[in-house]
């Protein structure tokens, strides 16, 4: 699903250039449930942005679903994002003046689906996430967990191949966090590739593969079988 090789990215800040990703190699298969970890400055946000085609990279290759993602113009990037990627953010990023249903339906608006049809589909997705009664509420009237579920519905509605979640539980209490993780797991069980960026070990431990970044390269990949070991290690850390 995702093949990244020799990925370089640096940010120019005035006269200084900050080399963030230094020849990163990464393979993620279809249907994987991966978490990307790393301390701040390790390059995990940068990687996520590149994965989400929100940012370009300097060197290397990035294949998403067999398609080379390189030097796309804004319009093509937008279309690719819309078709292939569902985003979930830490701060939910719902549009405040749109109700839950309209928020969920938004990606379909950019696919030129008619208003009636996309609202109907949005209702189905909200129903699936147990939020049907909240369809006509504004984000400000909902709890954090509900907002994140709306955001998840919005990420799913365009039936993307991968779900990218940036600290999806960062703004939630632990009970709600686990609920959200359960939903993501369910989505993964249905065959979708889910990638989350987190710095919380217990959240990362709920995924099937952990990629630890350090200084712009992958320091360690902990696979399914080793997760128990990882959990033990986390406890002792």
């Amino acid at each position: 699903m995702i093949q990244i090789s020799n990925l370089h990215k640096s940010y120019v800040m005035g006269h200084n250039s900050l080399h963030v990703l230094k020849g990163l190699e990464l393979d993620i298969e279809e249907g994987e449930f991966v978490s990307i970890m790393g301390s701040s400055g390790s390059g995990k946000s940068t990687l996520l942005n590149i994965l989400g085609i929100l940012d370009d990279y300097d060197l290397g290759t990035y294949y998403l679903g067999g398609k080379l993602i390189q030097g796309l113009n804004e319009t093509k990037a937008a279309i690719t994002r819309n078709e292939m990627i569902g985003f979930i953010f830490q701060s939910f990023n719902l549009i405040s003046f749109k109700n839950a249903m309209e928020n969920v339906a938004l990606p379909l608006y950019y696919q030129k689906v008619s208003r009636k049809k996309r609202n109907q589909i949005a209702l189905e997705y909200l129903d699936r996430l147990g939020l049907k009664e909240w369809a006509h509420h504004l984000p400000s009237e909902m709890s954090g967990g509900q907002k994140q579920r709306v955001a998840i519905a919005r990420a799913l509605i365009s039936q993307p191949q991968i779900i990218l979640a940036d600290e999806p539980t960062g703004a939630l209490d632990s009970t709600t966090s686990f609920e959200v993780m359960d939903i993501l797991k369910e989505i993964n069980d249905q065959g979708k590739t889910v990638i989350i960026v987190t710095h919380e070990h217990d959240i990362a431990a709920m995924t099937k593969k952990i990629i630890r970044l350090k200084d712009g390269v992958i320091e360690e990949v902990i696979k399914n079988g080793d997760l128990q070991l990882f959990k033990d290690r986390v406890r002792t850390e």
Partner: protein
């Protein structure tokens, strides 16, 4: 970019952001409203001023005589100066400076008009045929005095509409005879003055007047039209020349205003128009200033609007909004707001000016003040639409840069713009 969905999206955004919409709209509406009031007032003033001159040819000049007040060539002051028919011939031959001449002999005493059992006294103006164009006499039926009437000393009369109504009622007066004192005059025409200035005046040939009313060759006043000149100085030079000529003939000091009075309309007209042009320029400067203020207001609010919507735009882009759809969203929204608000401001402004106009016309019709300095204070359609189009286009242009800025926002940065 123009499908129904886009508009639905825009309408839902507008509906959810009423204050922002109101503020943007208000600055536009206010700008165009002020512009309309200003231009309307300017036009009203112009029309009012122009109206002052509309009763006569703008190049008309009147001459009249009195007693000398300055001793001249050994003669004491206090001499009475009198025009005569020779002066008419003199003025008529004056060449390039003067175009038309009409002399007037004042009929002595009160002239009683009689037709059958109806009678009344009215003003009788004796003149040459040329007066028709000079004082803008409006003949609504029949004809005005002609050269044959003059040379044959015909007893013909052109009566004002009100005289006709008073004497003839519904009867057609043309060809009928009305008695002036006891002398029958044949009615040849009826005049109508929309300003009702001359409604009770009738016109007879000056030659006839002199013969019938014992005038000999006496002339009381002259009305002449001068050459059309561009400057006050040129106009006054003509006045001076005419004064000098007549002063020489009647032996008085040309600067003696008491001996001979003169009023040159053209000099007055040029002077007034100069003042008015300055006022008009002033109105336009203020108007353009107001327009610019409106545009600046729009672009300011657009900038705030885009800043405020950076996150929303970032979200939209992350979800697959293309740059053009972002530009379209911001731009179309602002164009919609400026158009609707501009239209409202335009309507209210024009409406107020029309209401004032209606009020003025009502008071005019009621006979209150027939000489207004403020008349028809309305803005013509083209000016209104043009200024509105300018406002919308400028608003859109001013909004375009922020919109582009919005489209270029990197979603990452927009979304990071949190807390």
């Amino acid at each position: 970019m123009f499908d129904v969905d886009v508009w639905q999206e825009i309408f839902s955004t507008i509906k959810k952001n009423k204050l922002r919409t109101f503020l943007t709209g208000f600055s536009v509406a206010w700008g165009i409203f002020m512009l309309m009031i200003l231009l309307g007032s300017g036009n009203g003033l112009q029309n009012g001023v122009t109206q002052q001159f509309s009763n006569n040819s703008i190049n008309i000049m009147w001459l009249w005589t009195g007693d000398t007040s300055i001793p001249f060539e050994g003669m004491k002051e206090g001499r009475t100066i009198k025009f005569n028919n020779a002066d008419y011939d003199y003025l008529k031959d004056k060449g390039e400076n003067l175009e038309n001449v009409s002399s007037r002999y004042y009929l002595p005493g009160t002239i009683m008009y009689t037709y059958k059992n109806e009678y009344g006294s009215f003003e009788t103006s004796s003149c040459h045929p040329a007066l028709l164009g000079m004082e803008k006499v409006n003949v609504i039926s029949g004809r005005f005095i002609n050269d044959l009437d003059m040379s044959d000393f015909r007893k013909v009369i052109v009566i004002g509409d009100n005289i006709k109504k008073a004497l003839f009622k519904e009867e057609d007066p043309i060809g009928k005879y009305v008695k002036l004192n006891s002398v029958p005059f044949k009615v040849i025409g009826v005049t109508f003055d929309k300003d009702r200035r001359n409604e009770r005046t009738s016109y007879i040939p000056v030659t006839t007047a002199q013969r019938i009313f014992n005038g000999a060759d006496r002339v009381h006043t002259f009305a002449v039209t001068t050459k059309m000149v561009k400057t006050v100085e040129e106009a006054e030079a003509i006045t001076d020349k005419v004064r000098e000529g007549l002063a020489k003939r009647h032996k008085f000091d040309p600067t003696d205003k008491k001996a001979m009075g003169s009023f040159n309309m053209l000099a007055q007209y040029i002077r007034t128009m100069k003042i008015f042009q300055a006022i008009k320029l002033f109105v336009w400067i203020i108007g353009i200033g107001t327009l610019i203020a409106g545009i600046v207001g729009v672009s300011n609010i657009m900038l705030i609007l885009v800043k405020e919507r950076t996150r929303e735009i970032g979200i939209r882009k992350a979800l697959g909004a293309t740059p053009s759809s972002v530009i379209g969203l911001v731009l179309l929204e602002s164009i919609l707001i400026t158009t609707v608000a501009g239209y409202l401001g335009l309507m209210v402004g024009v409406g107020i000016m029309e209401a004032i106009n209606y009020g003025l016309e009502q008071s005019l019709a009621a006979g209150g003040g027939d000489r207004m300095f403020f008349l028809n204070p309305t803005v013509d359609f083209t000016t209104a639409i043009t200024s509105m189009v300018i406002l919308i286009v400028s608003g859109a242009l001013a909004g375009y840069l922020p919109a582009r800025k919005a489209a270029n926002v990197k979603p990452i940065e927009a979304l990071r713009d949190e807390n």
